[in-house]
């Protein structure tokens, strides 16, 4: 099965807003690559496990179902393994892997777009979900234009520790527009740093930050909606 193999060091062209240059392959990743080339199954499985959810979520940004995303991820692994022989470590491993993944996803997503429409991925504000009543004062307020009129209700530590909060956050992330979902997944769930995310997704630092901010803002707001409901 032929899969798109990304060449290292290929970038979209000079971009002044990209962050500092990424470091080369870390010693840990170099050792990892050696063990994979040597056929170490345990290393491969651990490596897959660590990256699987992130890869699924990123792939979901381009295809319409999780089932297809799984197929894309599998194809990507083929491409990654095939590319390993020539991989020279002139860029970080994860960024290189995810570029392969995204190429697979785009090719697959491109084929699908003609036949399968995206469903509720883009929908905003599902019916019946209560929104918090946080508001700002209008621009013509006599004393505090743009300040809180009704500020955020305080979240207690108990509410945050509730398992329901995690379920809600997860659900809300799933509902985000694909590009926001990718960025919040890699930055906040998978704890990648900003430069790595930009490298893997091929976007600028500024763009990445805008997407991340929108995603976080929506998730927080949805969580506040739930937390506000719970207040007696």
């Amino acid at each position: 099965m032929a899969a798109a193999v990304s060449s290292e060091g290929s970038r979209e062209g000079p971009d002044a807003t990209r962050g500092a240059a990424l470091p080369l392959l870390t010693p840990e990743d170099r050792a990892l690559v050696e063990r994979l080339r040597a056929g170490d199954e345990a290393t491969f499985l651990a490596f897959v496990e660590k990256n699987h959810r992130a890869m699924i979520r990123v792939a979901m940004g381009y295809v319409s179902s999780e089932g297809i995303a799984e197929e894309v991820v599998q194809e990507a692994w083929v491409g990654i393994l095939q590319g390993l022989a020539k991989f020279e470590g002139r860029c970080p491993l994860r960024a290189w892997m995810f570029r392969i993944l995204i190429n697979c996803a785009k090719m697959r997503g491109g084929r699908e777009a003609r036949s399968v429409p995206f469903s509720a991925l883009e929908s905003d504000n599902p019916e019946g979900e209560r929104r918090p009543v946080e508001t700002f004062r209008p621009p013509d307020d006599p004393r505090w234009p743009g300040h809180w009129a009704r500020g955020p209700e305080r979240w207690t530590d108990e509410r945050l520790a509730d398992a329901e909060a995690l379920t809600r956050i997860k659900a809300e992330i799933e509902k985000l527009p694909p590009n926001q979902r990718q960025v919040i997944t890699l930055r906040d769930i998978e704890d990648w740093d900003s430069a790595e995310v930009c490298e893997a997704l091929g976007i600028s630092e500024a763009n990445q930050r805008v997407l991340l901010h929108r995603a976080r803002t929506r998730v927080r707001q949805a969580l506040a909606g739930w937390a506000a409901e719970e207040t007696p």
Binding site: G39, E41, F44, L45, V48, E49, K50, H52, R53, E70, Q74, W77, V78, L81, Q82, F136, D141, P142, R143, W144, P145, G146, H147, W148, G151, P152, R154, W155, L160, A165, L166, I169, K170, I173, I184, D188, I189, E190, D191, S194, R209, L212, H213, R216, T217, V219, R220, L223, A224
Partner: protein
């Protein structure tokens, strides 16, 4: 009629730049304005707390378990590759 000082941040502006703030991407002057505002605004202090809590909770979603079927498929892929496809 006076309003809040024009050089001060309004809450509406502050919430828009929180990701920049947390990433250390603001210039010194703007970052100082954010910090000054946080000192005197309980609403924005709570908002930032919630923003950070949301991020912190998202971190807990990092899963590591592979569904068994996926595990089997990828192991096949690996073995196939190892034996020189």
């Amino acid at each position: 009629m006076s309003a809040a000082r024009p050089q001060d941040l309004a809450c509406r502006e502050l919430v828009e730049i929180l990701t920049d703030f947390l990433d250390g991407a603001l210039d010194e002057r703007t970052r100082t304005q954010v910090e000054q505002h946080l000192v005197l605004c309980p609403g924005c202090t709570e908002y930032l707390r919630q923003f950070r809590a949301t991020i912190g909770s998202a971190r807990k979603l990092a899963e590591e378990d592979l569904p068994p079927r996926v595990r089997e498929n990828l192991l096949d892929v690996f073995r196939h590759w190892r034996h020189g496809s």
